[in-house]
Symmetry: D3
Subunit: 253 residues, 6 copies
Amino acid sequence: MRILLINPNTSADMTERMVACAASALAPDVELTAFTATRGVPYIASRAEAQIAGVIALEMIAAHHAEADAVVIGAYGDPGLIPARELFEVPVTAMAEAAMHTACLLGRRFSIVTFSRTLTAWYEDAVSLAGLDACCASIRVPEAGFNSVTDVQHELEDDLLSLTERAAREDGADVVILAGAPLTGLAARIADRACVPLVDPLAAALGQAQLLARLAPRPARVGRFARPGPKPVSGIPGPLGAWIAHAPAGAGE
Amino acid sequence: MRILLINPNTSADMTERMVACAASALAPDVELTAFTATRGVPYIASRAEAQIAGVIALEMIAAHHAEADAVVIGAYGDPGLIPARELFEVPVTAMAEAAMHTACLLGRRFSIVTFSRTLTAWYEDAVSLAGLDACCASIRVPEAGFNSVTDVQHELEDDLLSLTERAAREDGADVVILAGAPLTGLAARIADRACVPLVDPLAAALGQAQLLARLAPRPARVGRFARPGPKPVSGIPGPLGAWIAHAPAGAGE
Amino acid sequence: MRILLINPNTSADMTERMVACAASALAPDVELTAFTATRGVPYIASRAEAQIAGVIALEMIAAHHAEADAVVIGAYGDPGLIPARELFEVPVTAMAEAAMHTACLLGRRFSIVTFSRTLTAWYEDAVSLAGLDACCASIRVPEAGFNSVTDVQHELEDDLLSLTERAAREDGADVVILAGAPLTGLAARIADRACVPLVDPLAAALGQAQLLARLAPRPARVGRFARPGPKPVSGIPGPLGAWIAHAPAGAGE
Amino acid sequence: MRILLINPNTSADMTERMVACAASALAPDVELTAFTATRGVPYIASRAEAQIAGVIALEMIAAHHAEADAVVIGAYGDPGLIPARELFEVPVTAMAEAAMHTACLLGRRFSIVTFSRTLTAWYEDAVSLAGLDACCASIRVPEAGFNSVTDVQHELEDDLLSLTERAAREDGADVVILAGAPLTGLAARIADRACVPLVDPLAAALGQAQLLARLAPRPARVGRFARPGPKPVSGIPGPLGAWIAHAPAGAGE
Amino acid sequence: MRILLINPNTSADMTERMVACAASALAPDVELTAFTATRGVPYIASRAEAQIAGVIALEMIAAHHAEADAVVIGAYGDPGLIPARELFEVPVTAMAEAAMHTACLLGRRFSIVTFSRTLTAWYEDAVSLAGLDACCASIRVPEAGFNSVTDVQHELEDDLLSLTERAAREDGADVVILAGAPLTGLAARIADRACVPLVDPLAAALGQAQLLARLAPRPARVGRFARPGPKPVSGIPGPLGAWIAHAPAGAGE
Amino acid sequence: MRILLINPNTSADMTERMVACAASALAPDVELTAFTATRGVPYIASRAEAQIAGVIALEMIAAHHAEADAVVIGAYGDPGLIPARELFEVPVTAMAEAAMHTACLLGRRFSIVTFSRTLTAWYEDAVSLAGLDACCASIRVPEAGFNSVTDVQHELEDDLLSLTERAAREDGADVVILAGAPLTGLAARIADRACVPLVDPLAAALGQAQLLARLAPRPARVGRFARPGPKPVSGIPGPLGAWIAHAPAGAGE
């Protein structure tokens, strides 16, 4: 089974960390391939950046999905997820969606704990997009700032653990999602100290992708997720433009 | 990884079919163990039967969960699921919950297609219990009756396929769940003829159980899903009574 | 008019208190008969216990409903209520459901004040089961513990009154439900000191049962609450098994 | 116990019918007093008429509530209900609210069957006002017209029974409310022919009023339903103006 | 274009302030005409007063709408709005509805900041009536009292600004509505000091009325907002009674 | 007042039609400037195309908003709306959002009538994004196809009028939105034949933009819609990249 991991951020070290953390979430028969965005921003943090990153995700999936049994968009907030599900025939999931639905199997309500207030508007929109507002107890962020997005999970470890405790005791969360690609791997490290189960969004997304790959659903031929017919495009270069135009893959380039 | 499959119906042949169909949903490193209820009804179809079956499921999990990494309750409608999640520390899922959350990764709205009208009240309650009313486009059942619950998926195959088509075209379903343990395996057989992706609830539940087992969440120590403290019991025999009493496993028998 | 009061807890003194408090809630033409569970737990406090108690409630109704015009399940959380409504033809209500719908006639939002945090998950589920989440302002419990469930309403009287005040002033509750069978009778005692109207769940349940008995609704012959057809049972002894099997009342014993 | 029945329509014969039908819904210790509006419209059918009728209901309650233990506003749609609950200290209910909450004790979803399409906008608003949209399966009205609002329950009896059947079988209603004061008494007459339980709104309102009177809730002293302080009024004559001004009852006249 | 502004309060100085503040909200081609209620209360603050004021608003619109292209009911809480929309063929809006829908174009969630706790029940009902509960982050009022409703916007200016800040930072409001006719004009004065955009409800209502007037929608001929047919009335004097009766305008007087 | 109209489709003739139809919706003091996308697709019809078009809308606003008092995104479905509201300080609205909130001032429920089934998934998402699911009675499309998107409003005029009738009579719509830029102007042409009021989305959007411009809200300085801080970008050319980077406008090119 081949899983394709698309990182729509331009930070290659984030991709590396994700690949390193993926091992425990993969069955023995799974092969993971990861790609990092070659344009965009180092770390998506606003909805405007997510609008752009969603197109970048589509470009990357268009370029690389041919061999994949399932695709994971490796950003919490899920840029491009619904358009990708509409456009491509391979199953696609993403970190927020997968984490939240997984959390629903561990309790009635989840809280989302993340590391920066600027992310919360986007993360909150992802809750609504998934139709899970009633299941989200709270979104919590530390008061403290941090120096490096690469090290933020270590810098703020105690704060994030403390917020987990408060989410459980004050907000009624049964389970906590540690959200944001830079927190990948943190859940495994602090699980024993947390008072409720934790969800690592990348682990959840890889798990859901494997489930979908084994389920091998046939693509929709009617309705909201059937692939749109061919469309003339201008100024949409590369494999994405070609895929939208139903043209040979190299045609749009 | 060891997955425990609990069939709270008394039909051993249904358990056999489930085990036979499980293979394609399991990773190479997964060992599946299945048990059939030794008391109750042959096939749970009402909420009163589900109330009783929920206790039977708890009894079975109490007796058999010691070695398991995750548990699947093998009945659509999920008898005993929430109490089991509260009572035991191993991750537990069930067919309706798992199928519906899986369906949410394939589209915005799912329909549930099943084989008997008597099941719909119970299945509808399962949608609400999961908090997914807004995602459920419809529950559809054939007009035709059937002779044998064992053969119903063959007897009604064309009707069920036709209802799938109508759920997609008339109700706006993006994905269809073929619900009810007797339909296990049908999705794989008719997928190529369906116009939208199908979800086999057993495959979904086994997939989610594997995901949960790999995630290895720590049990909740506070809140809605922390294990209740010891309680004196009377007339609740066997391992279940002992577990509630926090007594040695043989004590209650 | 005959009202049957079923206490699915095994505490006979709780039943006695309920009967003693019932007088002011009954019209002159009502005869109340009460039964205490002979197996189960002394005081139901978790959803696992409620799963079991629901079956016990069904057993007790099966044994005793023949002469009743309406049935009250005497536990807040309503174990077995929906299955009982499906299974039996006599009107059935229970303390949480009745209290919440009664509260809705006194204000737009109610709060639930109870005496132990372990009860809140179950009570919260009862709010959702009744479809009244939007009407529930809060569920509040005292910080203090207590020595005896029999005396808890006296031990914590000031705390419960103070929480009522906070529910009204901080949470926007228009009315407060004093929930849990051990609080039966407390509302009458502290009503004059409370700043919003109080609902005693037993009084509410007896009132709704009388209303239903006078309304004398015919049993549903179709749909979600029509009595299920006969079903073979094994290991479900006594009148309940017989009722499910549509067998003579003594047959299953 | 004294129940005050306020008919905000100007049709005295409708009041008479309501009083005649009330007997079976009243306990032996209840005394019912009824008043008919002396201004307004013969039969309220629009929301503009209901706005006016709400004031008339307040005027009537202001004039007559002194001796009452509970008040019933005798119009389905509940003109003036929430303002009356805020303004007066006696418990007040009305036909739509009481019927719908009663219906919730008989099933998960109710349908409303009434006799004229012009009523449906108002009745639908009453569902939302009660917060029960999710419990309302449908509102159905006959295609046929009628000659006399006094006889409409006989003229359209077969149509209304047939709509009840369709509400149950097509819309999934577990219980049907026969709505509109002119249908008072119809439920009792056709109950045996209906496939699901029926609710007579007047019987429900009288039952809820008795429950509230026995519960004897203290008036709210804070919050949404505390009586507003004194207010200068002009052009609001009679007991209502005096009550709002906190003036002696004759002062405003 | 002619806009009719109806003030259902009896305070003429409030009407004057509203007219004075209207200028910046009106296009050059708009003529505004304003009327003050001649009966009722000086300042509507409860739902009982709003029930009465709604009838007064209908009376005033009946008397003055003949020449208008759109009508604004100049009270936050919108007394008589839905009945007016049903009864008259000219577009009608009101301050709460218009402010809330305008706020939705500036952010996902609004808070309502007003000057007296007694108003909040009514204002909260207006949120629900508009179907916008999910968009309302909070309703906040100052702890401090005030001497004069005419000067309240100056007396409490700092408190209201501070509540705006808290609504944004603590409640997650993207935009704040300064609600209540006495606050008209405050938004313009403090906008530069507020950390989120402010909505002045009168400015919003006048803007929406102009939009509706330019849109020139045809009156509904079917459904919930078609004008009701003629109805006999008694005790409903003046143009309103005549309009309901479909009688000549002077007939009812 | 200057309103900027951004057409994210590449069809210049659609822009021309929109400008031609705009006159009746504009006050005398409004100057409208319109731009057509120079890359993308001729007519956006899927969510993948909308993802791309959202970026194109952001590019166009970045390039042209300097002089505008308000911006209208001229596509129903509102590509880029929320990101634009976050990113830019000028008020921004779009055709779906503006039409739906305007429709809410004309009735309780609207239906959306459009010309092609492929649009409905996108339009339905716009309903949810606006939080107005409860207000949307239906989305209806003709069975018939059409030859030219430019002429579709004439080709299908009778079908669209007929669907309006059905939306009102069968779905309970109080008002109908004729959705999709190609239908601009149709509402004015068929209004007299429709049984409920119609909303022209462009007219609504221009009206709301004027309202917002006159309201002159200050930009949010905190929360979900405060402008994000500077961000390094790569491969995001032109004014949009510069704006995100907080760089001089020409810097990113």
